[in-house]
């Protein structure tokens, strides 16, 4: 099932518009190219809506957020909704500052997203108003662990229902949920947190997977998360002993480049709860 999702990504090669931060924009572009998609980046309010119209998905990311690009996000987001495109939010740093929290909330009010991807603290901030995001990382106290898994699954399903979108909460365990179903995903490596932008890349991939699989968005989101995590595992095995996080960064994108339906089917570790 997940296999079919990645096959359709490669068949259709959707064009994805990213309004994203300047720290990891290059990686987001290359990971989209790695799975056969075509990335476009434009954040100027006068340009963003028109560029979005050429694409089939829009990925909005709040890293290095500034006032000018918020206008671009709104303009492109509205055009994207009007055209029935896929719309994904990555609320980087929501819960860490008032500006980021309020911008994320405003975007959620003004636009209805197909999917929101963040760490648990960012998501708690948006749903409960009490996340305590540490810069751009989750608060350790919030971490999803095996012990409190049932409670967290319940929370994420409920939150997805309230926000009326797919919620993707990434961490040691990844949860991908809508109102009724939740994928618990155990792919990935802790070392992925030592590479800047693996979360941003996943948000870009999520937009691509949903755009290529609009009939089964939850499965598509789970396939994106499994693909990224599995790429992290494969890349880790490919690391030579002298290599560190900079080489790991490249090898993760390389692993997405080689990811096919069979590899994903065999390597994906998930359960549907």
């Amino acid at each position: 099932m997940l296999a079919g999702c990645i096959e359709r990504v490669r068949e259709k090669g959707p064009m994805i518009h990213n309004i994203t931060n300047y720290v990891t924009a290059n990686d987001v572009a290359n990971v989209l190219l790695a799975c056969g998609c075509r990335p476009v980046m434009s954040d100027e309010p006068e340009d963003a809506a028109e560029m979005t119209a050429l694409c089939s998905g829009l990925n909005i990311n709040l890293g290095t957020l500034n006032k000018r690009t918020i206008e671009g996000m709104l303009a492109a987001g509205r055009k994207s909704r009007e055209l029935g495109h896929i719309l994904v939010l990555d609320p980087v740093g929501a819960g860490a500052s008032r500006f980021r929290t309020e911008t994320a909330r405003m975007l959620l009010r003004e636009l209805s997203f197909d999917a929101v991807r963040g760490n648990i603290s960012e998501i708690k901030t948006l749903v409960l108003g009490n996340g305590t995001t540490k810069g751009v990382d989750a608060d350790q106290a919030d971490a999803v662990t095996e012990e409190d898994l049932d409670g967290r699954i319940g929370f994420v399903k409920e939150a997805a229902g309230e926000m009326d979108c797919i919620l993707i909460v990434t961490g040691a365990l990844d949860l991908v949920a809508d109102r009724k179903r939740c994928y618990v995903i155990r792919n990935g490596r802790p070392e992925m947190g030592q590479v800047t932008g693996t979360g941003c890349q996943l948000s870009g991939l999520t937009a691509a997977f949903l755009a290529a699989n609009p009939e089964e968005k939850l499965e598509a989101a789970a396939a994106a998360v499994c693909s990224m995590g599995l790429a992290g595992e494969i890349a880790y095995r490919n690391l030579r002993k002298e290599e560190g996080n900079a080489s790991y960064r490249n090898r993760i994108i390389d692993a997405i480049y080689h990811m096919d339906a069979e590899t994903l089917e065999k390597g994906a570790r998930y359960e549907l709860c």
Copy 2:
């Protein structure tokens, strides 16, 4: 002849000012360093003209275009003309949105460029007003192929004459033309399109090659295009089986780093029409 061009790039090591997008700025800087040049990046209107004055070439790229940096492009571009420096335009996305098309046209009106590098759809947009650029990629219907080669060579020469500059149209085949002569270049690999920014890098290299070879700009532009394409071929041969587009990105710049006159002379595949 091309060999002499790259030798002079390494001998002179020109300083090149780039007003370029935040997706691929790092790659543009590193590819310029790879061939012995010194990159400078500055897009603030108050700063750009003064920084340009220290350089011998200016590379203007419309990726992630925004209103603030357009002022920087104009200020630096005018200073560059005043000082007789090399001036190159990469009209990323012209034909995809009104904002990009109009900005590219305005820059062409206000500044006279030594060279313009783009895909065929971008160039058709600027010359004929009817390009149908797909985001930042050429429309397949526009692609330069062996069948319509003579017609395309004629079109590009004529366009170069009208625009009074060197036109570099990159794709499966690359055309480098002025009013009278056209290099048809067959270096490169299709996989280069799976790395974000290879076009941006080539535009930076073009500025460097022209700045180091002001007496023979057409040859210098052809040498830049052959160097980039040949680097793509060498890098592809150096790829290990588990490597993908992220490693390819690095290996292309590495191949420019090692590119010398002899390698270029032997590997360049072109004809002058």
Copy 3:
């Protein structure tokens, strides 16, 4: 002694806020992650002070300087001072343009920095008003060499006294000085200058090392400089013959990833003058 400094960086893993350029932001983030720290990037005036408050160090870098982010630098810098955090300045291009020189001077007037890192021309510009920075590189005429070493050590100590901060002057030889003492450091490779952003990375590391070692800032700064230079040496040894500056970029960060107290202790080459 330097060994203890890097151990504390890894133990404490300080969060470092970077207001930096879009050319090398990804590298700065990854090099901070490589030594166990957590990078945050935010340059929006409304957001920067609040993000800084979560961190223990702030690294201000003038590459791709623009008017909007200057406000962010001031807001974050003042908050950083108020909270007693570590504050580092990298005056990229001071001496190359009026805008950069004046902005660097204004920041030095408005904020008191713990450390300033630059090339010799940038530092001469700030202290003497007569540096002749070539774009973002030092003027060769200014270079620190073995011949004029005593004079330069005297100049840098005096300048550190006047500016009341630690001065880090990098080049063929690196000098790390306060009013009374100066480390002369002989780590590093000339090829590091062929990778964009190694200076920016060092400024980020400096903020991290000082934040983790607030009781011995001069030693911490020297440890950061030795670590970066030694990483350049190790990375150079790890390069394969077909690799160039793009691979070198990755291998330098990889070497920081593996840098431990023992490696640093054995490899650091410095004298205290």
